[in-house]
């Protein structure tokens, strides 16, 4: 039974808002967790335990004047953060977060968009989102911005290859590019983190680089580039770039849970809650890494991407394919 179109629309609106809320509170969680790891409290002034901090941040960002350099190229400068934020939010639509339910005879699917090419669609949207970072840096007409966007471009293109190859093993095991199907197969077997452990590790490293998180945060290395591609952005335009980065991180964590940790499956029948818990656990590891590891040098980053990660991902995909053909 297929889902009525109006349920799809309501669900899409609800999910977008949940993701945006998750983004807002992820910034708080990150600052809190980093604070505790560095023996301080983190934000604790706005509301009890600083719980209203994201709202205070939002009000501040919206009210702040959005400066633009006088030499900035208007239209691309304004559109760049919008493109990045839009593709980041849109990519989450393909991630399944529940088994789907039937309420009063109406079918509700456990994902916003169930398409046969969900996995490729997420990567495709991600590759369009890169343009926001490049064009934003270029249109700012600033040396730091252009250097930052060049670094972003080189890093994201390099690690995208390893990221896409690392999930190939999962696709071979799941025999599908459809994410709900991959989750269903893991539910009836075991999480692909076990047979595809190497794929998981490659995906994890590739994911850190794709989202420009520490220790791969060279595009935004403060000491070298001020802030990278968004140096010349302020106010909510900067906020949109930040939003794009964090939502990309959420989507990537959700994708990791979907591909390697059997998605919303768990001991009790609480599908979406399992999905949320697993995603938060992955996000915690990302934050943990940021406080633990120092930034790599640029040549180390490139060498690691092309000479370690890519060969490992390729061999992993080939070996998985051979084993599946031999024993599957």
């Amino acid at each position: 039974m297929s889902e009525p179109w109006w349920i799809s629309i309501i669900k899409a609106v609800v999910i977008v808002n949940i993701v945006l809320g998750l983004f807002a509170y992820l910034t708080l969680i990150e600052r809190k967790v980093m604070g505790r790891m560095q023996l301080r409290y983190g934000p604790n002034r706005a509301g009890p335990y600083g719980l209203l901090q994201p709202i205070a941040d939002l009000v501040k960002l919206v009210r702040k004047e959005a400066f633009a350099p006088s030499s900035a190229i208007e239209l691309p400068y304004i559109l760049a953060p919008i493109v990045s934020a839009f593709t980041a939010i849109a990519a989450f639509a393909f991630i399944p977060w529940g088994p789907g339910w039937t309420v009063h005879g109406w079918r509700i699917n456990g994902e916003v968009a169930n398409v046969s090419i969900g996995l490729i669609a997420i990567f495709a949207l991600g590759s369009i989102g890169i343009y926001g970072f490049i064009v934003g840096g270029w249109a700012s007409e600033s040396k730091y911005s252009i250097l930052g966007s060049m670094r972003t471009c080189a890093q994201l293109v390099s690690y995208e290859v390893s990221l896409a190859l690392s999930v190939l093993g999962v696709v071979i095991l799941g025999r599908s590019l459809n994410l709900p199907e991959i989750v269903a197969r893991q539910g009836s077997w075991l999480p692909y983190a076990a047979p595809e452990f190497i794929g998981l590790v490659v995906f994890f490293f590739g994911g850190i680089a794709e989202t420009s998180r520490a220790p791969f945060d060279l595009p935004e290395a403060e000491q070298e580039l001020v802030a990278g591609y968004h140096t010349e952005y302020s106010g909510m335009r900067w906020g949109l770039f930040q939003m794009a980065e964090y939502i990309n991180l959420i989507t990537l964590s959700g994708l990791m849970v979907t591909l390697f940790f059997s998605g919303w499956h768990g001991p009790w029948d609480i599908g979406p809650i399992w999905f949320l818990l697993k995603t938060m656990a992955v996000l915690f590891v990302f934050i943990w890494l940021r406080t633990t590891l120092p930034r790599l040098r640029y040549d180390q980053l490139m060498r690691f991407g092309w000479k370690v990660l890519l060969p490992v991902a390729t061999v992993n995909a080939v070996v998985t394919a051979a084993l599946v053909v031999a024993f599957g």
Partner: protein, 179 residues
Amino acid sequence: MILASAGNALVWVVWVVAAFSCLGSAVAVVTFSNPFYSALALIGNLSSLAVMYLLLSAEFVAAAQVLVYAGAVVVMFLFVIAYVGPRLETPWSGGPTWQTIGAVAAAGALLVEIVVAVGMQASGSLSHSDKVGAAFGTPAWIGRVFLVDHLLAFEITSVVLLVAAVGGVILGSHTKRAV
């Protein structure tokens, strides 16, 4: 019934928008004097082509189009343009060259193809709706076509791509040794 016709109208609206943005961005690619804008217009062109593929229920081709062409290939263009800096003078040097003649010939061939296709469609000899099943355009279907029905052509293509990659490596290492 009303919903179905509304769906049809939606398909038409999407098609018209995609077709015109495809044509518009294609013209923009060759008319912009700043190559950075040309590359941006090319993204628009490739993306609207992907929408057309989606309307033809070729989901996989649409996603691959965005991922490979609109994503990876144009990123390289932008990377190089942003590095080298915009050359604002137009590349047109005047006078017919073999390139111009080739471009005109290719455009003529495309025109003939379009006229033939439209003519065949009008006479009804292009209709193969029985071959377009529910699985048409899915990754599984494309996999079968590539790796079972047309394996030789597929492998030859991969060898050609491998040659291109090796050539790129040789060119790169050669210039390094010369410096």
